[in-house]
Symmetry: C2
Subunit: 351 residues, 2 copies
DNA sequence: TGTTATAGTAAACGCGCGTTCATGGAGGTG
DNA sequence: CACCTCCATGAACGCGCGTTTACTATAACA
């Protein structure tokens, strides 16, 4: 069933059918109704490929979820729960406005080329980058071709430094620096001075920001940073276990630990509790993100709430708006985060 | 940049370029190399729409996540965590074999038409149905058009009853009946006779199967079913709270409760603990699915593990294999589930 | 050397639709 | 009644690529 068939059945020409489908004004109501009736009757749907080829937008955006290769089989699906919710939100927001979403998983340092490839092959109208390290070269390449992209969690400065101000770029961040400061101040107010950190991936913006805020806050409060208290994490539970074990076996334990995300905070708690270190009596813990599980574990995790849903909806809507209006300027949004105190923080006890 | 440009630059005709791209045998190695060099040099990527229009497969499958409309704003993303992991798994499995995935969210009873629409408009090679109630009419329609679809969790019987045996249909189920029987037998072996259930959505296969197993097992063990102990659930935490509260306020409490999924089990536990009913001392609880959170809450939830990752990977691979081979027969897979006893089951105490 | 098989390639058509341009007819005005 | 305007509509072209067909140069053979 193609538009030609509809035309024949309706006793008009293909052009008229096309005009009806695309809501052209200059077709009389009577003819329009006649054509619409046939379309309805035969369940006709125009072929998207042909439309795109003939110059129409394809109403499809690409979502690129950049994750870390795990190769742990089934566990993979657990690790990525956080990013999974991104997908749902983007799809929902886009579908609502009549856009389709083509989802890709990109593994860091491996298949960034899939991104520009998808743009060129599929002629998608725009893309959204979410997850770990976003490759600057890819971003440059895409924007240079004139395609719009939305990025969740990216360094504004990087945009200016690379003269990307006039690109069709949308960046949505959360105020991670402030959130981290707030969380750490809470620990300091409880009397803690020996405050450790499990860092995130330093190649990501939030990873850098959260660590930067850690250094800043401690310095601001005249607290020396103990290098032994800095655990190198990857935003994953995976290697957190070993790092925390090593911390426990070292000479001195901090009295508080700030983890750069909830997954690592939860992993740390598991190790502590298994090794007989009580939370929060012996050590206070704060996470970041406020994933659903944070409020369900015992003790409930104190953490920093990030409005992921709002951020992702925003980037999706802003992207589509950019697609339709063809804006050629960089725009950005920053969402406030909020420290949520639950049951993993306690006053420092004098030992 | 189109194939004509490549042809000109390589000093050959467009046909030769096409032959190179599509790996036709009858083009000498020298010419092939020359063309490939130009393609590489100019980063040429053939236009997918044009290829599809010219008769090529588009290597894209549609994923239709059927969920329940919530309209709870942000909470929506929490509710759907379970299905979100489906998306990731499908995308990963498909991408690995070189297929793209177009993701749609379908709300029950509302936009089933989006499914067939996507098939006709986008000319996707196949589709996967996941989530709540799958609309039989839609399935009939798609298969009648000759398109293959994979379904996770669907009644085999429905296939035969509707003469869909010769359709390109793939169904992947888990042995929910057996799993439920195993879980309930565990409760019975602990001495429980007053066993309640929070049902799932009865329009889904697993919802029906798990309830059927409940009736079967109790009858098999000569235990009368107390209608007051049957709570009507929807697989969501949402209305579970109220149902459980009502149960607590009624004359008699069961000594064990089987929830048709973990979300509802966890919701029930929350209510019980808030109302001073101890788990598992006062009431034993078992869930279904074994979502990540199940093992993290306190007390850790006893539940039935479903190999979601394997099932979803299977349906994706089977679908793509069907697409490429054009098999015209129904095929099905059933995955075993396994009861996992954690900390929410205890012997029945004599009161 | 003449003939036939063969490999390599170019030209042409079609995929389904959007769009432009030309045409014809209806209605209005002088 | 003649002329012009405007609106409805159909014919034709192009989007980029796959494929079929036909042609040409080369190799193989007698």
């Amino acid at each position: 069933m193609k538009s030609e068939d509809i035309a024949r059945l309706a006793g008009v020409s293909r052009s008229t059918v096309s005009r009806v489908i695309n809501n052209y004004p200059n077709v009389p109501e009577k003819t329009r109704a006649k054509v619409l009736k046939i379309i309805e009757e035969y369940n006709y749907e125009p072929n998207t490929s042909a439309r795109i080829l003939a110059g129409k937008s394809n109403n499809t955006i690409g979502l690129f979820v950049i994750s870390v290769s795990e190769n742990d089989g089934p566990s993979k699906i657990y690790q990525s729960t956080y990013y999974s919710t991104f997908i749902n939100t983007v799809v929902d927001a886009a579908n609502t406005i009549g856009y389709y979403v083509l989802v890709h998983t990109i593994y860091c340092d491996k298949d960034y080329s899939k991104i520009s490839q998808s743009f060129m092959q599929k002629r998608i109208s725009g893309g959204i980058l979410v997850g770990n390290e976003k490759d600057l070269d890819t971003i440059k390449k895409i924007t240079k071709m004139g395609y719009p992209i939305g990025i969740v969690d990216y360094d504004f400065g990087e945009i200016e430094r690379n003269n990307l101000n006039n690109s069709r770029l949308i960046v949505v961040n959360s105020s991670d620096f402030d959130g981290t400061v707030e969380a750490l101040n809470h620990l300091i107010n409880l009397g803690h001075k020996d405050i450790g950190i499990i860092t995130g991936r330093m190649g990501t913006y939030s990873g850098k920001e959260r660590y930067r805020a850690y250094e800043y806050t401690l310095e601001e409060n005249n607290i020396d940073i103990n290098p032994d208290f800095i655990l190198k994490g990857e935003f994953l539970k995976k290697n957190t276990y070993d790092e925390v074990k090593r911390l426990i076996n070292s000479k001195k334990l901090p009295t508080a630990l700030f983890a750069c995300n909830d997954d690592m905070a939860i992993a740390a708690m598991e190790v502590f509790m298994k090794e007989g270190v009580r939370v929060p009596e012996d050590i206070s813990i704060i996470g970041f993100d406020d994933i659903p599980m944070a409020s369900h574990i015992k003790p409930a995790l104190s953490t920093v709430n990030v409005p992921v849903y709002d951020m992702v909806t925003q980037v999706t809507e802003a992207l589509i708006s950019n697609i339709e209006q063809g804006t050629k300027a960089f725009s950005s949004f920053t969402y406030p985060v909020k420290f949520v105190d639950r049951d993993t923080c306690a006053k420092k006890r004098s030992r």
